[in-house]
Amino acid sequence: MLSISDVHTFYGHIEALHGVDLEIKEGEIVTLIGANGAGKSTLLMTICGDPRAHSGQIVFQGRDITRLPTHEIMRCGIAHSPEGRRIFPRMTILENLQMGAITGNPDRFDQNLERVFGLFPILQERGGQRGGTLSGGEQQMLAIARALMSEPTLLLLDEPSLGLAPLIVRQIFDVIRDINQSSGMTVFLVEQNAFHALRLADRGYVMVNGEISMTGSGKDLLNDPEVQRAYLEGAVG
């Protein structure tokens, strides 16, 4: 479904991704783990064309999207819940969700709204509240809900667990699994919380300094001694 081959990305003169190869198949949950600054978020943003890949190729559903402008890439059926959530602070929850539905089918807006309210009832209760006044957990839910409003075939999630209470993290991961199983939506999840992510994912990739260093099934990576030492220390339990 999504195939990334030999992608290099620069921020100014600094090379952030040094030739990344990665493959995601339809209906999978794939996770990308790695330390802070490894380039995980950069890879997600490169898929979206902002920043654009300097070289290499990104193919989504048979179409080369490497050189498309961001808004056209997102119209191919990709949705992104980015790093830092990026909720529109001076828009209400409902308006944020309407923004998420831009690339979706307008006839299915009510249905999709009902669906995300079903997943995150708190958003319905707070519908008229402005995004900037929500708590971190609520903003994260809103960011995911907003990404779901367009019914994407591929959902990109950047650290949905960052800074959230363990209970909410569980809730969010449950929702991701439910959506994947019920609607077959493909999920590409970037996480620092490697334990949760690898348990959820079918397959995983490990990124170190802008390169993929390891790949395997979620279970294999969980049991890999090197992964355990580097990313799971003290997290198991």
Binding site: C48, D50, P69, T70, H71, M74, R75, H80, P82, G84, R86, F88, P89, R90, M91, E95, Q98, M99, G100, I102, T103, G132, T133, R146, S150
Partner: protein, 305 residues
């Protein structure tokens, strides 16, 4: 009391026109964070296009005046919008990721270029128009003969402005284009991640600002009947002042600021001296900036994210 009422009417009329121009400043600032210093010239071009269209239609003669004026208004809005659109494409889009100073200089350059372009093509002399909309209502008469007058033209200006501003506010608040504009204003990257064509949204913002400035130009031509290539400068600075006074980036602020500047000017000219009306308007700006740097309806820069 009668004198006060008359100045109020004059002030409201003037303020409505400033408000229409100020919206263009505040919207562009909101979406790309720069002051479009060529906006006053866009207004001036709107006035010239209106004048030329009126003269063309007059020479053709016939038909109802109201319909003819409506046609002129639409023509002026469309053509002036094209100028606004081209201005953004030529002078600002290539500099979007450059330092702000570069865009600022480009804006001032465009302002001078557009002013000179009209001076060269239309001549430097005043252009006049015979009054078209005449007649007025006498509201009150004082014993000494002073009469409070509300002209049909003033009614036209105030009503047009109210209708346009209401329609415009509704558009920003309720339509998907308005939402996309607010989204670009708050987080351009995120807007594009949701499928918003940011370049197109910014272009449309310039187009809308220019269309409103064209309405102001049209109204001024009919109201004063005299324009020249230089009117864009002072009106532009006044409308910019109005936008800052109301809180730059805030659309209700631009409307309020426009009204206040108009009223200050009218009352100052009515009660003190007409020579110093500009000084009064700008003095108020200085005071507001000292005591309330974000303007009356502006919000502080820091946001909880």
């Amino acid at each position: 009391m009668e004198y006060f009422l008359q100045q109020l009417i004059n002030g409201l009329t003037l303020g409505a026109i400033y408000g229409l121009i100020a919206i263009g400043y505040t919207m562009v600032y909101g979406i790309i964070g720069m002051i479009n210093f060529a906006h006053g010239e866009i207004y001036m071009i709107g006035a010239f296009i209106s004048l030329i269209s009126i003269m063309l239609l007059e020479s053709l003669a016939g038909g109802s005046v109201i319909v003819a004026l409506f046609v002129v208004l639409i023509v002026a809005m469309i053509l002036t919008s094209l100028y606004g659109w081209a201005l953004e494409r030529i002078a600002y889009r290539p500099l979007r990721s450059s330092p702000r100073l570069a865009a600022l200089i480009s804006a001032i350059g465009m302002s001078i270029a557009l002013g000179n372009y009209i001076q060269l093509t239309q001549g430097a002399r005043n252009k006049t128009l015979q009054p078209i909309v005449q007649g007025n209502l006498e509201l009150m008469k004082r014993d000494d003969g002073f009469t409070v007058v509300l002209s049909y033209m003033q009614i036209g200006i105030i009503v047009t402005t109210i209708v346009l501003m209401a329609a415009f506010s509704l558009m920003i608040a309720k339509t998907s284009l308005g939402r996309a504009q607010r989204a670009c204003e708050q987080d351009r990257t995120m807007a594009s991640l949701l499928g918003v064509n940011v370049d197109r949204t910014i272009s449309l913002t310039f187009v809308m600002g220019a269309a409103l400035a064209a309405v102001a130009g049209f109204l001024v031509v009919l109201y004063y009947g005299v324009i020249d290539f230089y009117i864009g400068f002072l009106a532009g600075i006044k409308a910019f002042t109005a936008a800052v006074l109301g809180g730059i980036g805030s659309i209700p602020g631009a409307m309020l600021g426009g009204l206040l500047i108009g009223l200050i000017e009218a009352f100052w000219s009515g009660y003190f001296s007409i020579e110093y009306k500009d000084v009064a308007a700008f003095a108020i700006l200085v005071l507001v900036l000292i005591f309330r740097p974000t303007g009356l309806l502006g919000r502080p820069e820091v946001e909880k994210v």
